[in-house]
Symmetry: D2
Subunit: 319 residues, 4 copies
């Protein structure tokens, strides 16, 4: 819906992010930094960054917005977008993706095998680990080098060079028993075409992409702009598919707190275990907040508070 609104808020955004940051920062103390790998456990829990990048390129930032951190599960959005790009038209997307992975919220912890077993190896959606593994399995079919293709796409969207942290990918691999369990379970239901190791390798690599909050905010703008990257004007995805990606983010992007996020934030979001949350504000901006301590659902605690505060102040809720 019309870009006229941006004008209205133009002068307020910088003030709003400052106030949101102030409101949110103390909440971090109530959260817990992920500690299943050293690279996450050792991060400074007081790190906090918030970036809002408008469609016209204006950037409003506060805090640690130029410190790279692993994007982890936020990469699932890029993987899905890449799969849609490569598959092409909506009919083919439907046949290739949506028969192998659902579009429903999971209602269970993000790495639950229970649902996967009851539902015969069809993951509930591509924003949970099992679903992302299926998307990666598809990418292996469609890309010579899925990780290279993802990096290329993200570099273009962020306008800067972006790399993997191979030590993180390696550490993920060592603690990937549960993902391996899910991949094997899906293979037992014939919902994995490639080898478990190959698929996990793509997944662990994409999780280790190092990006800054600023870069992530930039990379979300194409979703907010009918699928077009406002920097170069390139159509990354059709307007229709861009809306679909945002719908999936809204209903499935924040584990078992998607309802809570829709309720209090009102924007399509995707969180990562390193404490990042990416969001797209349709016709307005790309947004990213980073604060490592997580709440019980696995989302950045101060990040959620900041987004709640910010969308209230800027009236960005899509509802």
């Amino acid at each position: 819906m019309g870009g006229c609104l941006s004008k209205h808020f133009e002068m307020d955004i910088s003030q709003a992010i400052a106030e949101a940051a102030e409101a949110a920062r103390p909440a971090a103390a109530r959260g817990r930094v992920a500690d299943y790998i050293d690279q996450l456990a050792n991060v400074d829990p007081t790190r906090f960054g918030l970036a809002v990048v408008e469609l016209d390129g204006t950037e409003h930032v506060i805090g640690d917005i130029d410190t790279p951190f692993p994007i982890q599960s936020m990469s699932k959005v890029f993987a899905l977008v890449l799969a849609m790009q490569r598959i092409g038209d909506e009919g083919a997307v439907h046949r290739e993706i949506w028969e192998r992975v659902g579009r429903e919220p999971s209602g269970d912890p993000f790495n639950s095998l229970v649902q996967l077993e009851y539902e015969c190896g069809i993951p509930r959606n591509p924003m949970i680990n099992a679903g992302a593994l299926v998307i990666d399995d598809l990418l292996i079919e469609h890309c010579t080098d899925p990780v290279a293709s993802m990096l290329e796409m993200v570099r273009e969207l962020a306008g800067e060079d972006i790399d993997l942290d191979m030590s993180i990918a390696a550490a993920e691999d060592e603690s990937s028993h549960r993902n391996r369990a899910m991949a094997n379970l899906m293979a037992s239901f014939d919902n994995l075409e490639n080898g478990v190791d190959e698929v996990l390798n793509v997944y662990n690599s994409q999780c280790s992409m190092m990006m800054t909050a600023r870069q992530i905010a930039r990379s979300m703008r194409f979703l907010a702009y009918d699928g077009i990257d406002p920097s170069g004007g390139r159509q990354v995805l059709s307007a229709s598919l861009a809306k679909r990606v945002m719908a999936i983010m809204l209903t499935c992007g924040t584990y078992d707190a998607a309802g809570e996020f829709a309720f209090s934030v009102g924007l399509p979001c995707k969180s990562g275990v390193a404490g990042g949350i990416m969001a797209a504000a349709p016709d307005h901006s790309g947004i990213c907040v980073w604060s490592p301590p997580l709440d019980e659902a696995g989302n950045s605690l101060a990040g959620r508070v900041a987004l709640h505060d910010l969308t209230d102040r800027l009236e960005l809720s899509i509802f």
Copy 2:
């Protein structure tokens, strides 16, 4: 977001609903009419009505839009709105409602006891039966006669007289073993203040409210208009709470197809087992479609197709 957009589509709505109706009607043949009570089983499955009522009162309708049918689960939205009204400020709403019922999609069939047991008697959200029973339990505290208050509210929103069909309420009661099971389970977890029979009585009554598609579409406009009923200008709910209600509808309003609806329709919706689906298009209109045959998730099959088609044509998706 700005009302300027309505202009753009003004002339198209009538044509759009005609095309959506034509596209959707055949789908009804693939669905199944609910048959657990005679009053639903005996309905003509070819009935089809679609109504879009703009904020300014302009009504675009096609088909059986003046035939009353039981609103069933769509009443859950009215019950939630009434509870919010009566409780008043957001802090109190939080304390009284959200500590007793969640805001997360259920990921399980709408009447599942499993989740209710695992989550200690706290229903996942107020759009599933168990959650609606808790809301009704709250209404008994806050209203002298909850059903009378709901009728009053709905009459005002629809601008016409509305009544219960007591034969339907009685039939619901006779087939309410599962709701009774859930109510007793919640009582065993101390999440029901009033007697099981009293709560079920309110619930079965509200489900038997007889409304037409036109009336339902009108009654949704206040949600689309920052909580204000555009007919009389009365603030039904604060803008903030109206957004919250829509967020809950989007993530939880269509049983285990909420992701699918967000994906393909992109509007906050709530369905009922008689084949009605209500929707709110922010800053645009209230919408209702009616077609009795249901899909496997329990939502009107042709209704979903019609809304998908309509929101694509009118670009009404909130994403």
Copy 3:
């Protein structure tokens, strides 16, 4: 198998129960008395009684073996036996009972609705609450007054007068939300013929039967003696059905600790929430131990220890 073995242990039983009692009593301190109704909460947790009644009538007892306590879930064995008696031949038992209730261990807490829902209203076995409700539903068909018939049967087996404690039945009724939930769920699956209240009334009454450990031990002897009550020589159940009842007790009689009991005790047992455990030692004796504090699985903690110790000393394990 032959009665010749009893001779061998004759002189040891009294000593064995003394030693078992001494070994077991301290364990009671680690358990917790059931407290969902006052009548159970207020019992003296140091009460302890152990009775072994041989087939020839010789009674070996120690401790509080003449204090009546509510038999609670142990009544499920009597209800099942009564149902088998009334239905008569094995073919009819199969058709009437085993199509409505299973014979498998539950693997879940004794009052779980989860399994009942997944398995479409068919309880796993007649030793859990849901299964006992189905048996009671059957008894209503087959007996003019099921509770009176159960009392009559038990009086004969125990050789003494036995009564209900109506205050306990009433208290059970008030805290029966969960049983009511299960009964309604089964009714929703058409696995309950009679009204929920009527069935619950039978169940709550049978749970309130007041018996002493000595009486219970006597009443188990017919199972140990091929279905014949050794007092009067009456065939209570066919030898074949008596074995079947014991098989169900062994695999399902002690909630989610049936494997543990088979492993450590090695006898068919059934426990009750008041701290009683009944057991049948084939060709040897009826046994009952009573100690109110329960372990996490809901079985008498000291009772289990005593039976483990006793069956080891007397080599009573059926394995």
Copy 4:
């Protein structure tokens, strides 16, 4: 319990197995041969063998009792016995085994990940796949070559040479996604010490042991004889542990039909997916029946019927 009973039935056993075989054979037609690997799928479904080997060595056999077939899950009993042997005293067994695997029936299909996840990686018992993997993990600690040790133990019990069919082990490995999923899940809960591949290798090998019904019947006798192998008089396991193994077989040995087997057969049994069922009749005999077609629970259909018939005729039920 005394061996005097064998005398009584001496002359009947051969006749009983003939009658049981005749009664059971037709049932095979209603079952389905396992087909997840070619070696099982290609077996002749009319194969049928039944062997009863008395403690004194007298062998009563009928049908295909000298055709080797893969013992599959029956190997779980040998693995558990070997682990108990190597660990030694009961206290150590308790610490090393029972803190890592339970002793309760599973109440869910034999390869369910659901329960494993809810119960934090602790399998319900050593007779299901997950539990067997933990036992194998333990064996890797305690044996230089677990498979060689198992073969040695079984050769001694059966009195004949026994080997693996490496083509079966290889085929199992290729279709072991689900076992691999469980192993990884347990590793994620720190309930696996050794590598997933190493553990699966032991498991797949033991499943491929080729034995005849006669050999299996012989190898069960030590359980029926207080842990002593009646051939050589060697104490394979203490009497106490032998009873424990039988208790686990009775409550957990036939997947989700353990209650049914206890009810209708009344002997400790363990089944395998190739259609074998092994049983121990305390103080009487070792038994094995083989008929490839399985029922829905995964147990040999005609095998179950034969054992039911046989134990009724010979009154072998332990109850």
